[in-house]
């Protein structure tokens, strides 16, 4: 009886394992087999829109990337026979990169953030042009973001975004941030510096880091920091003076129409004020202010915009503030003294003193 039962268990186990083993064996199509076709340099396909898709892949393609140890079918797992009859589907990174995976693939909540973002929402709505992971991170040569060769490295990410957002990329390249980035300055923001990495939302979405009431916060993360701005000789008082101005106060109270940093300085085309193309160049100030204050004239540029009443350099504004400061202190001291003297006198009289 025992032997029979043992045999039965073996048979059952074997039945359970064998098909799996067989599938594994058939599924692991070796790299050499793929490169039979894909290893030919002229292996490419003419798409319906006239574009040519290069399908040339060799054994070295993955070498050096984070997936160096992977084989083709680890990602293109829907290819199970050669030649594959059907067009392989787009690679799904979450096949491995999910929380608690056994591959040891790094995983984080970034994928969830991505699906909440404008790009993920567009994908969910069926927009085939919206980017998936591989559209930004690259397909075969994926490197860590810190690697300067990576497509999502700080120096390269603008170009990566620019593949789709071409006009904005062109504007950005000419801006002070773009030129500084080209010079290799470390602190300068690229696209992701302001828009976020995976959490990118439309600018009209209140969750966005560049929503009209969040812009000043976003700019002040760098422009409010003396440590960063000190390196480039840029003042940081603009942040405080903006927040004290009516524009800044109304913005903090949630006005979406009042001017924020980018209303005057530009968005992707921010240039230093001495640049004739800058929106805040005195020559262009009437036009810039005129967006909200119809009929603005060159007088808008006479005097400092980011004015600090506590700073002696502000001239007449400083003196006005000082005059009122001392007028208030003097008047209130006299009035409060009078009140206390009055109360003192009443107390004396209540006690019966004369």
């Amino acid at each position: 009886m025992r032997k029979v039962a043992f045999a039965a268990v073996l048979v059952l186990l074997g039945g359970a394992f064998l098909p799996g083993l067989a599938r594994d064996a058939s599924a692991s199509i070796s790299l050499e087999k793929c490169t039979l076709c894909h290893g030919k340099p002229e292996f490419r396909k003419l798409l319906v829109d006239g574009q040519i898709r290069d399908l040339f892949v060799i054994g070295d393609t993955l070498a050096g990337s984070v997936h160096a140890k992977k084989v083709c079918t680890d990602c293109h797992f829907d290819v199970s026979e050669i030649p594959h009859r059907e067009h392989p589907k787009r690679v799904t990174c979450t096949h491995c990169h999910y929380k608690g995976n056994h591959e040891g693939a790094p995983q984080s909540d970034n994928v969830l953030a991505y699906f909440d973002s404008i790009h993920g929402q567009a994908i969910a709505r069926g927009n085939t042009k919206a980017p998936l992971c591989q559209d930004c991170h690259g397909n075969h040569r994926i490197l860590k973001a810190k690697d300067p060769g990576s497509r999502v490295a700080r120096v390269n990410v603008a170009e990566t975004c620019g593949k789709c957002h071409m006009e904005i990329y062109a504007q950005f390249k000419g801006s002070i941030h773009g030129t500084a980035l080209a010079k290799g300055i470390e602190e300068v923001p690229s696209c992701t510096g302001c828009h976020g990495e995976h959490r990118i939302y439309a600018r009209k979405d209140p969750k966005s880091t560049v929503y009209s009431t969040h812009v000043s916060e976003q700019c002040s993360t760098c422009h409010g920091s003396i440590k960063i701005m000190g390196k480039f000789g840029i003042e940081t008082e603009q942040v405080a003076t903006y927040k004290e101005s009516f524009h800044g106060v109304a913005n903090q109270f949630g006005s979406r129409t009042v001017a924020n940093c980018s209303s005057c300085h530009g968005v992707h085309d921010i240039r230093p004020p001495d640049d004739p193309l800058s929106m805040v160049n005195p020559k262009n100030v009437p036009k810039t202010c005129g967006k909200c204050h119809p009929g603005a004239n060159p007088n808008f540029a006479v005097g400092k915009i980011h004015v600090d009443a506590k700073n002696k350099e502000s001239g007449i504004i400083y003196w006005t503030a000082t005059f009122f400061k001392w007028l208030t202190i003097g008047t209130m001291l006299a009035l409060v003294a009078h009140i206390f003297l009055d109360m003192y006198g009443r107390t004396r009289r209540l006690r019966g003193e004369r």
């Binding site: 109270f253 009042v258 204050h293 400092k304 915009i305 409060v336 109360m343 003192y344 004396r348 004369r354």
Partner: protein, 312 residues
């Protein structure tokens, strides 16, 4: 209980009357039906009587309350004397327009000066956000400008206005009064200075409002019509106006809340407040305390007038 004693005789008489009427009705009926009818009539009549009594007690109570109030008034009158009209209706109306506009301006303006103060966001949201609180601020501004125009016309066109304006002009006697009053507070003078219609405190309040209105309305109009102003003036003129508007607002608010409120509402003579701004009348007692010279003038004028009437 005295109330029951008062009611009892009425009730007894009524009971007797009912008894007689019921006896008349039930004569000739079988005894059990007679008893039922008797009970029914009794209940109905009692209900009626009680309602009547209830109504009478309510009106009695109201009457008593009214009499007590009048008695209190008389008592007070004996204590405080006649009342004198200090501010006429026109002046009271001006004051009300001004303080409602100033309250509106302060509560919609101060959050902009202190955006990080914890209540600022609440106040702004109360009006429905910054885009609406600025409209309320401009409504307040319009009211203040109206007040200013009204007061100019009042000063020029009415007899009371002209008289008050002249009386409000600072005089050397005011400086003496200040010294006198402070010496009085310190116990160096036995009596208060004897003020006329306007003491130096009230003169200060009046001219402070003048100064404040000119600064606030002037700079406020600059900020309201910024594009038109910038057609003629450079941008820093607007910054100066902004600074003035913000700083003078602080000074005016402090002066009103601390100084003016103490002098008219919160000082021990008046605490917790006066309704003078509403009825405009001052009792003889208050007049003797605060404006003895004016009271003397009024009494002298009245004596002269009545003498003229009798002589005629």
């Amino acid at each position: 209980m005295p109330e029951d004693d008062r009611k009892d005789p009425t009730r007894d008489a009524v009971e007797k009357e009912i008894e007689a009427a019921v006896n008349e009705q039930v004569s000739g009926l079988p005894p059990e039906r007679a008893a039922a009818l008797r009970e029914k009539i009794r209940l109905r009549v009692r209900e009626e009587i009680e309602r009547d009594l209830r109504a009478r007690t309510v009106s009695d109570r109201r009457e008593a309350a009214r009499l007590a109030k009048e008695a209190r008034k008389k008592e007070k009158h004996a204590e405080e004397g006649d009342t004198y009209l200090r501010f006429n209706r026109n002046f009271r109306f001006q004051h009300m327009v001004m303080f409602s506009s100033v309250i509106l301006l302060i509560i919609t303006g101060m959050p902009l000066k202190f955006p990080n103060f914890i209540l600022s966001r609440f106040v702004i949201n109360f009006w429905g956000g910054i885009q609406h609180s600025t409209i309320v601020h401009r409504i307040g501004a319009g009211m203040l400008i109206y007040f200013m125009v009204h007061h100019f016309l009042y000063t020029i066109l009415t007899r009371d206005g002209r008289r008050d304006f002249v009386l409000l002009l600072p005089k050397p006697a005011d400086a003496k009064d200040i010294v006198h009053n402070i010496r009085h507070f310190l116990g160096k003078e036995p009596d208060k200075p004897r003020f006329g219609r306007f003491s130096y405190i009230e003169k200060f309040d009046y001219w402070a409002v003048y100064w404040g209105c000119i600064i606030m309305i002037g700079s406020g109009l600059f900020l309201w019509f910024e594009t038109d102003v910038l057609r003629f003036l450079p941008k820093y003129a607007l910054d100066v106006a902004h600074e003035m508007h913000s700083d003078e607002a602080m000074l005016a608010t402090l002066a009103i809340v601390i100084w003016h409120f103490y002098n008219v509402h919160f000082n021990p003579d008046r605490f917790p407040g006066t309704l003078l701004w509403w009825h405009g009348r001052m009792s003889e007692h208050e007049m003797k305390e605060e404006h003895p010279l004016e009271l003397e003038e009024i009494l002298a004028r009245r004596a002269k007038e009545s003498a003229e009437v009798t002589n005629r």
